[in-house]
């Protein structure tokens, strides 16, 4: 069953494009990543799905119901974490969570205490005294605490420290194992790869591709910066997957697309002094996947 289904979904802000002709289906039990650079239309899509924005054209259904007309019913089973969340500063964390919980008398916040503990949140402080990270944690707890069927999370790890990010990924795994559907928007590729089954890539308001994560990894671009004891011939490293080799000062920058294993095996034959691997930026991934015009290269 499709939990999210959009057909030709389009949103314009006056003459400014938000999203255009978006066809998207997210199945039940799936963790779906929505990847794109800032301004691509990720937040617009989530706001249309949560009926904060009215579509200019097309339709969106959530949990089998029209997203705009039945939004209040849908939200009984929806947990939403808005991007750059704004909270009621005068309330304490506990007051805020209780206030949110009372909107769903039939869905008690069964995960509230557990999430507060796991995210190491002090609910007794006033929200205005919270750091950005703690505000984000509070936002996550309010979205997840009633164990909804569907989660819409806009840049959920923004402001979280690495430890809390790991905690968040673990919680997402648990939601997946309980058959919940999760829709995560992000501009961080490794994060999407870490938690999602499929990823939709949005660019300039258009959904340019939907990939399984395993397929995405095959196209993945990494940079391996490596320095050696003594001199080496850079052409020795032209193994399968390596697309470019560049000498920068005293080390080599090797660009790898897809499997990194052949390169690692080759490097193991040399005396390596230092090695660092980094992911290509999202823009670079887009250029790699879709070319400058944004069309899909097949």
């Amino acid at each position: 069953m499709a939990v999210i289904n959009t057909v030709s979904l389009t949103k314009y802000y006056g003459k400014t494009r938000g999203i255009e002709d978006l066809h998207l289906t997210v199945e039940q039990g799936e963790v779906f990543g929505f990847l794109g650079p800032n301004g691509a239309g990720k937040t617009t899509t989530i706001r249309v799905l949560t009926a904060l924005l009215r579509p200019t054209k097309g339709t969106a259904s959530v949990l089998g119901k029209d997203a705009w007309r039945h939004s209040a019913i849908i939200k009984e089973e929806l947990g939403n974490l808005p991007g750059d969340i704004r909270l009621y500063d005068k309330m304490s964390g506990a007051e805020f969570l209780n206030f949110i919980a009372r909107f769903r008398p039939r869905k008690p916040p069964v995960l509230k205490e557990e999430l507060i503990e796991r995210f190491d949140l002090n609910p007794n402080k006033r929200i205005k005294d919270y750091s950005k990270g703690n505000r984000q944690k509070l936002g996550i707890v309010q979205a997840l605490m009633h164990d909804p069927q569907l989660l819409l999370l806009d840049e959920p790890t923004s402001g979280l420290d690495p430890l809390m990010q790991q905690q968040f990924y673990a919680v997402m795994e648990e939601f997946r194992s309980r058959g919940r559907t999760v829709f995560i928007s992000s501009h961080i590729l490794p994060e999407i790869e870490r938690v999602c089954d499929r990823v939709g890539i949005i660019k300039e308001g258009h959904l340019v591709s939907v990939e399984r994560i395993s397929d995405l990894e095959a196209k993945h671009v990494r940079y391996v910066d490596v320095s050696f004891e003594g001199s080496v011939n850079q052409e020795d490293f032209r193994v399968p997957g390596v697309t470019a080799i560049e000498r920068i000062n005293d080390h080599l920058r090797i660009t790898v697309k897809g499997e990194i294993d052949p390169l690692i095996k080759k490097l193991a034959q040399y005396n390596v002094k230092d090695l660092a691997s980094s992911h290509a930026s999202l823009e670079e991934v887009f250029l790699e996947f879709y070319g400058k015009g944004g069309t899909v290269e097949r």
């Binding site: 009215r54 939403n80 704004r86 206030f99 009372r102």
Partner: protein, 271 residues
């Protein structure tokens, strides 16, 4: 209506509304308590008033039955014509603009509308608080003039008090609805409050000029002014509730309230 949201809204004015009321009631008491002294010299003051141009009296809210010889005339000129509008109007405009404007401006509307609550329910709940506090403010201030009047040995007419409560309540509900309308339309408290205030000041100005000038066009234009249908001196002295005033104020309140719901139901929420 959503009880959870209603309680939260009520909590937000638990200090400001009572504080405002205490100050307002104290002002009413001071005003009433000086009337016996004013009454002793009412003949001189009446002569003085006659010497002023009609327009001058109009500017300060003098209606058809302006007189310092009766407590109704005194209250009308000193309080219910201009001061009352300014004091209660400021609260109603501010609160009307903030009811949803604050949530829209601060972006908390996004988290509120992420909950299972319809937009209509959110607006009705928030505005219910506005309307209750407005009615409370009008009823208490008018009743206070009666009660304080009794304390200092005066007795304003009961039917006049009732008439003023009815018309005053509808007048301020109309203002509240206008302010609410502009807040959901513009999405900002400040702009909504300024627009509503500007509109009311313009209406007041039109009414004053229409009272001074003999131009046909301004006499016609005056009909769009809410102040044209309000005469506190007449209300207090006769106790009659003019049907036209009743219809204009109730109609304005209903039209702008329904307009608020319509606009809010359809508008984009994008902090």
């Amino acid at each position: 209506m959503n009880v959870n949201l209603f309680k939260k809204s009520l909590k937000e004015i638990r200090v400001s509304w009572p504080s405002y009321m205490v100050g307002l009631l104290f002002y009413v008491y001071l005003l009433i308590s000086i009337y016996p002294t004013v009454q002793q010299r009412s003949a001189e003051i009446q002569e003085l008033l006659k010497s002023y141009p009609k327009g001058f009296i109009e500017i300060f809210g003098g209606g058809s039955a302006v007189s310092f010889t009766t407590v109704e005339g005194f209250l009308s000129l000193e309080f219910f014509s201009l001061m009352w509008f300014v004091i209660i109007g400021a609260f109603v405009i501010g609160y009307g603009a903030a009811a949803l404007g604050k949530e829209l401006e601060s972006g908390t509307i996004e988290i509120l509308l992420s909950q299972p609550i319809t937009r209509t329910s959110a607006l009705v709940t928030k505005s219910l608080n506005l309307f209750i506090s407005t009615i409370g403010m009008v009823v208490l201030t008018v009743l206070a003039t009666y009660v304080f009047g009794l304390v200092v040995g005066l007795k304003p007419k009961v039917d006049g008090i009732v008439a003023l409560i009815v018309i005053g309540t509808l007048f301020f509900l109309a203002i509240g609805a206008i302010s609410l309308f502009f807040s959901v339309l513009l999405g900002e408290r400040g702009r909504a409050a300024l627009t509503t205030s500007g509109l009311l000041v313009s209406m007041y100005f039109i009414t004053v000029v229409a009272g001074l000038a003999n131009w046909d066009w301004i006499k016609k234009l005056e009909r769009i002014s809410l102040f044209h249908y309000y005469d506190s001196a007449k209300l207090l002295s006769t106790g009659n509730i003019p049907a036209k005033s009743l219809l204009v104020y109730a109609g304005t309140a209903i039209v702008f309230y329904l307009g608020s719901i319509l606009v809010f139901r359809r508008r984009d929420i994008a902090p």
